[in-house]
Symmetry: D2
Subunit: 349 residues, 4 copies
């Protein structure tokens, strides 16, 4: 109750992952929001920009140039790509842990990073010790990590959906793995752009990034890591007229070894102790709203007659796909209860 | 921590107010869900119908005929009108408190009830001791109440919006009070009807109930009670293509006594100790999403040049407008922390 | 078939009123799109920006500086306020008619214009001969007009809703006329702004412009014109999560003269020859989608017990509220069939 | 102008395909609506149920038992499965042509029909002469057809998307063809059901029918027909929170023969004379709204590095996916201009 609270810094608090961190941390029992920086909005009370936080978050946005984040225990970067890697070193030197919700610490191959993000990597040495922050895959590393590359929203669905198969060599790599993924519009961020205006994106949908989406190399690298194999991966994301929510429909060819195996049992066993991964009964049809606002990810298996398995994986893109997973990582890094601050019941309807 | 938990019964758990009660009570520190009845779905696990509750609510729907609700401490009726009044007497006799989310205990005038609800009132004696459940208006009575008539969604916005004026005789009743109210579609309930299908109600809006809505007499009676006056009241509700959320735009003529008064200060003072009523700065434009999922109601004042005051009042129709207020009433009736189980941060975006 | 077609110029074709003009004019039997200008998009084929027009509109956006609009028969300005008044004189001199969908020619009082639009009026002399373009009110003037100030979206609903009463002196001006108006988000235009992003405006609503909206003086001036009276007018617009559609709920106190009058008959008679104004049976509840995509405006009367009349008026804000009415004005100005190009059946569902 | 108009009968006019037929036929230059039947709504003016048709459709719903459809030139069945096959024979005997928008005449294999539709086929002999109504594939047969099995919405996207490849043997059938398809909610029909309520289906999405959807056998049979091959087909439909619109994302492995071929040129050539099939430039990202309300279907090719081709195919599920295609079929059957009544510009925004 009177326990010491972690002092939290948030760099870039005006975007959707920023305000989502604030939503979760505002009532986190072990967290205290010390600083929320914003170049553009310095001086404005956070709750003025986000009235949902009135009475819950008292601080004002502060100028990054005048904010000493080294006083924090942990700093979240809810910024565009490239910001965290410019500040991580100094924070680490001051003993501050770093959780980056952008891509700076997700790709270990800096050449791949540079190709997709059009900038050189600013601190390859820090990158080397960074941990890819999916607790259900890398919890032990996260416990001792000082820097977390919090995963992209799409990767979390694809990787947690396929991990049980890949870990057991149950995939036939002669066919590509296909993920047809769908995301709510908040995934595009809180940026003034015509394409995501209500009058453009509502009552409408489309595929995008077919020729190349930044989450493709991230997922591809992790799939190879999990499987220890070269493989082909087709990824088509789609923009869906809903605020939050993500569903990946994954088509994977099973290997001969999978014949006769009880895949449902395999998945249930793999995730039996995971509070935030819920394996539904075979044949279930998860709705995105079943996780709206919560850190839960749900998986359903649909075996096909022809040796393929169709997987349906859903999460809230802003929670398990971003801010919630970041808080989960923080909890692990600091030895807190892993679900502290994450006991949000999904909002349905 | 190891405190005794209230045993909760919910009659009619398959509608939106029912599942909303479950969302809130699932993590209420002082509540334990003992029974959720449903005639149609007896035997089905609650979390099968509402997967958002998987891992959070363990009970199955039970047959009302075979469920002994007298073992509960409190029973919520999230049922159609007429059910609570048929069971209240027996429950009260067994020492169980009753909170009805339908209209059975809202109107003290049984003739008015019969006119609008097309059924005779089943227990006028119980009705007499029932308390109208808006804590910010009737908290003292609620403390000792055994039966609560939980208000309709629209009335809560209009009454809390106008109470500070009415209590101080600041309204000129020579003009009608007008409430142009807007509600999300969940207010129509979880009923299979064509008019509220997605393909009918989306990208569309309309007024309804202009010739007579059941909340009109309820609001009218309470306005008279609060003001001690006869008055005229025009009420036009509208159906808005959003799931949750309610906004009442209220037009009221101020009395001479209001001239020169600082109405903003008056409102702030009236609600200064109310955790769930937030008076915004004069001229604010509250969005419904600023309270999405939470029990908060927000009010903004817009004085007009011509002696009128325009009030904007917003709430989540399922929370402060229904289940959240019901839980708030329960907390008061049982001497719990009034905001126990209601510390939900609004979901934005 | 082989009839001469009007050569049409559109200045500012990249906004919603611009693309809506293109949608209607693309298959207008008497129109040929000669030029669509855009400073920012010069050179891009119109159908590349708006794929809905592929195969229907062949021109590319052209640079305004290099486009000779004097070759057109009529030029529509679908631009920000202030553009039309800078070009109208030269076009008129060349014998080109002008229809401005912005506010430059709506307000005869230039002081009021300057107060609300923060710029001096550029051509008061042209303004004097401009006609306010609601055909059902000013058809005779439109026939011979050279410059049309096409009305704002909100004014069209309020003015056509009230005209039959005002023309017959049936309003009691001791009480303010109140219009509680609701608009779809396309009314905010095709501009990159955070407030109208899908993730901000969806599943959400709010009032806006309560302290002062530019359509207030426009409506007020016209109401005075129609009634020949001073009067008070309260106007509260609301942003509704739908793409198109507008509903004004109007509250008006009837004068003694209205007692016993058959208002329904009055309205039906007033609009009996108007193809685009549909008086519904008394007590009807018009939905915005009932006019989606069409130039129709629908009115329903709801008399109140207390001497007030509630009016429900709906239109598509981009059609009768903007581009459709502009085409209707063009048809009248050039002696065409008034409904040419406007025979679009509303899209329902 | 004074041309003889076809007398049209519509059986089952109260669903979405029914009202969509009415929307299109109301202003079709060669059609006159003779009868619209409805068991439940007999006597009610059509325009009372669908106010969008006020002033455009004058008939009332008539009792099927008292409606002599043999006076019509053509009868559309916008009914549940099983109705058309019970009435087709009598209509044909009277010289009336039949277009069924349900499934009665889509599957030539009656055993497959019975398996999926749980009823014996009522007129196998009529079925034999029925033509599957996709004009771009079977125009010649449609010209002389007396009975049309109008395709399901999903099949039209998949078949027109793949036809150019299948006709030229460019598919490698060692891998399954996968169609990940997305539909707006109107595809579920105008039926009172909880699952498609606004408050359930909005801000939400899900896959459905993964274990078996009725369009699977229909597509499968047609794919075999077009390719002359056995093949495997995986089909996963999804429900998207939009009223109209359909997008199929199709993953297909190309055969060796396709190596080096200019597939874009192949598609453009295949559809060069098709007014309602639009092949977009390679790499385009079609939005569903780009065809909203129109009979157009748009295709974009996305070749993958690994020998796969990803196809994006979009249409309005109620137009090219149902009523529009039915009218197109009618036009062909009666020798009318194929696009008569179908010149609707898509509604964007």
């Amino acid at each position: 109750m009177a326990a010491q609270k972690l002092k939290i810094g948030i760099v870039g608090g005006t975007g959707y992952t920023g305000v989502e961190l604030l939503r979760l941390l505002a009532i986190h029992p072990n967290a205290s929001i010390a600083a929320v920086t914003s170049r553009g909005e310095a001086g404005m009370p956070v709750a003025e920009m986000f009235p949902s936080l009135r009475g819950l978050v008292d601080v004002a946005f502060s100028d990054p140039a005048q904010t000493d984040l080294t006083l924090c225990d942990v700093v979240f970067f809810a910024t565009p790509h490239g910001v965290a890697m410019s500040q991580a070193k100094a924070l680490l030197a001051a003993g501050v842990k770093v959780i980056d919700l952008a891509a700076d610490f997700r790709l270990q191959d800096t050449a791949v990073f540079e190709k997709w993000y059009k900038m050189p990597h600013g601190c390859p040495d820090v990158l080397k010790e960074a941990v890819y922050g999916i607790p259900e895959l890398y919890r032990d590393n996260i416990k001792s990590a000082k820097v977390i590359g919090n995963p992209g929203c799409y990767p979390t669905t694809v990787l947690l959906g396929l991990a049980p198969l890949l870990e057991q060599s149950l995939v036939d790599f002669s066919a590509p793995i296909i993920s047809d993924s769908k995301s709510g519009v908040s995934g595009a961020g809180r940026k003034a752009e015509i394409a995501t205006l209500f009058a453009e994106a509502s009552d409408n949908m489309k595929a995008y990034g077919v020729a190349g989406h930044r989450h493709h190399p991230e997922i591809h690298a992790q799939l190879k890591q999990l499987s220890g194999n070269e493989l082909q991966f087709i990824f088509v994301p789609h923009l869906i007229p809903m605020i939050r929510g993500m569903l990946s429909t994954i088509y994977v060819k099973l290997s001969a070894k999978a014949q006769g195996l009880d895949l449902q049992a395999l998945y249930e066993k793999r995730y039996q102790h995971e509070r935030f991964v819920d394996v539904l009964p075979t044949g279930s049809l998860p709705e995105t709203r079943s996780v709206r606002g919560s850190n839960c990810l749900r998986i359903a298996l649909h075996p096909q007659a022809n040796g393929y398995l169709t997987l349906l994986v859903t999460q809230d893109n802003l929670v398990k796909g971003a801010a919630g997973q970041a808080v989960q990582n923080m909890n692990i890094m600091f030895g807190l209860n892993e679900h502290a601050g994450l006991e949000v019941v999904p909002l349905l309807p």
